[in-house]
Symmetry: C2
Subunit: 337 residues, 2 copies
Amino acid sequence: MSKVRRATMSDVAREVGVTAKTVSRVVNGENSVSAETRARVLAAMEKLGFQPNLMARNMRVGARDSTVGLIIPDMGNPFFGTVAGGIEAAMRPRGLTLIVGSSEETAEGERSLTSTFLARRVTALLVVPAADSDHHSLRAERGTGLPIVFLDRPPSGLTTDCVVSANREGARTGVAHLIAHGHRRIAFIGDLPTLYTRRERFQGYRDALAEAGIPFDRRLVETGHDEKAAAAAVARLLAAKDPATAVFAANNFAATGVVLGLARLRRQEVALVGFDDLPLAEVLEPALTVVAQDPEAIGKAAAELLMARLDGDRSRARTVEIPTRLIVRGSGELPPG
Amino acid sequence: MSKVRRATMSDVAREVGVTAKTVSRVVNGENSVSAETRARVLAAMEKLGFQPNLMARNMRVGARDSTVGLIIPDMGNPFFGTVAGGIEAAMRPRGLTLIVGSSEETAEGERSLTSTFLARRVTALLVVPAADSDHHSLRAERGTGLPIVFLDRPPSGLTTDCVVSANREGARTGVAHLIAHGHRRIAFIGDLPTLYTRRERFQGYRDALAEAGIPFDRRLVETGHDEKAAAAAVARLLAAKDPATAVFAANNFAATGVVLGLARLRRQEVALVGFDDLPLAEVLEPALTVVAQDPEAIGKAAAELLMARLDGDRSRARTVEIPTRLIVRGSGELPPG
DNA sequence: TTGTAAGCGTTATCAT
DNA sequence: ATGATAACGCTTACAA
């Protein structure tokens, strides 16, 4: 059980009595090999348990291997998991392998993963940037022809392909839905204001208010970047003198927190629309109305953009927006007070 | 913006007027380089944007690179995402990079990923096997000293390290909890009977019944491998002549489905214990009592087992069981009809 | 149809 | 402290 050297092409060649090049021909399916030689080579490969060394091959062939690096902020978040699934599915037919790493939402983690991936000479890079990261350093990479696509959030300090949800329009729709059901005091509970998605969704919120001629009241805006904070935020909002009658929760953690908070306060009659769907949304009481994103489609679009670049598409950087969808289930249709 | 050749050690060396070997020394922090030379090399590296090529390095150094391959059945399942997060966190200090690929719960997907990873000469392999896969072919790999660890489900046809939840004991605890609250007609809704986790949890269910002297009734056992099936199963169980007064849902999909089914039937007074926690378990009405797994700990244990092997641990294959935890929230304490 | 020589980017070994 | 040379496992280009 000690470390046995792995069989190489030369080992196989020696076994058969040919040259490594002949084995290489068999492995790569070149047709200039006699049927008999091919058979003997295949037998020897089987016997020795030969597995071609992709690293050596790629080094010789093009310095780039067939791996795509994906950096996400958090492996445990099903949103990113589903995005990754969409990417994988779209790349599989092409024989591309996905390497996923998690930045833990830190610029340092992202930087370190980037450099690991680059040292590994990935074919392309897919990045969901951490909140505070900067992407100037990737400019040089772009110069070498490495396709880079950003997902969910755009890069800072770099122009490149990007796939995002229709955050602003989606939020506008969700808030307009609440307005259509008679609400005028609508709270916004979102992520940290530095985050791209929070800013976009906030704009959508203001768009909807403006369209309806409802004055903006900054006291109705709260930050709740995790469940606890969101639950606390909703408690504050409802305790105020001129309280909100409806809440727009701008991400899934916020939505979960608001649901929790309302349940504890026994205030389930407060209207609520969440951004991003939740697995149990349907079973809640009331069932949760949401603006659903399409993480799978985001991944698919990013993979397609990337493969087009690999195929030589040299057009200028594109930004693809994936539409959202309002799913009406109950909580968003509750009337005011 | 066309394909620019990437700077190599020789390029840097030429720029400085030294040999590639000297640059290599600087890159690897060997101390036999004069301070002045080192400074000039570092400057040249910066200027040319040099990034060492890990593939070439690994090829020369040991044929193995510092990548660990992980195969999971489904990227979108947060259980596996969290497992992956636990692995990554445990490996990061050691500079190991995780490559994740999804088998889509098929033997073929698993086989193809395995061979990709092997061709890539990963340092080690982590596998959550697909339901119907076989692992004889990995025997040869084990022979070459490649550490292989299975997670969540044991291998078939191969003896190797393995990390699983305490499925049987956890299920026993959950069912005993229902019994302690007066139930004697307890339904079991689980995955497909071929799945290891289903079989183990089913054993735990029977253990609990046996301990309490409750006769086993096979009519109370249903298969619900997705939400819809589980919802249908619970409807059948409650419509029977001597209906169940409590349900043990042996995985998260089954639990979600049962919650859904009970809600639709307006039968939320039926007691329920789920296996595996759900994000919104606390907000359901009634809140969901579960036997929680610890996916992060599963990942961590697997990574540690693996790193011990990399450090030369040659002891025989171990199976690590990660304990589960009963979280009491309400649904499991409801009394019988 | 098969072989030879050279080289991908790096490092081990032995010199200097 | 630095360099020359060979080698890792494979493929390209050319030759036989």
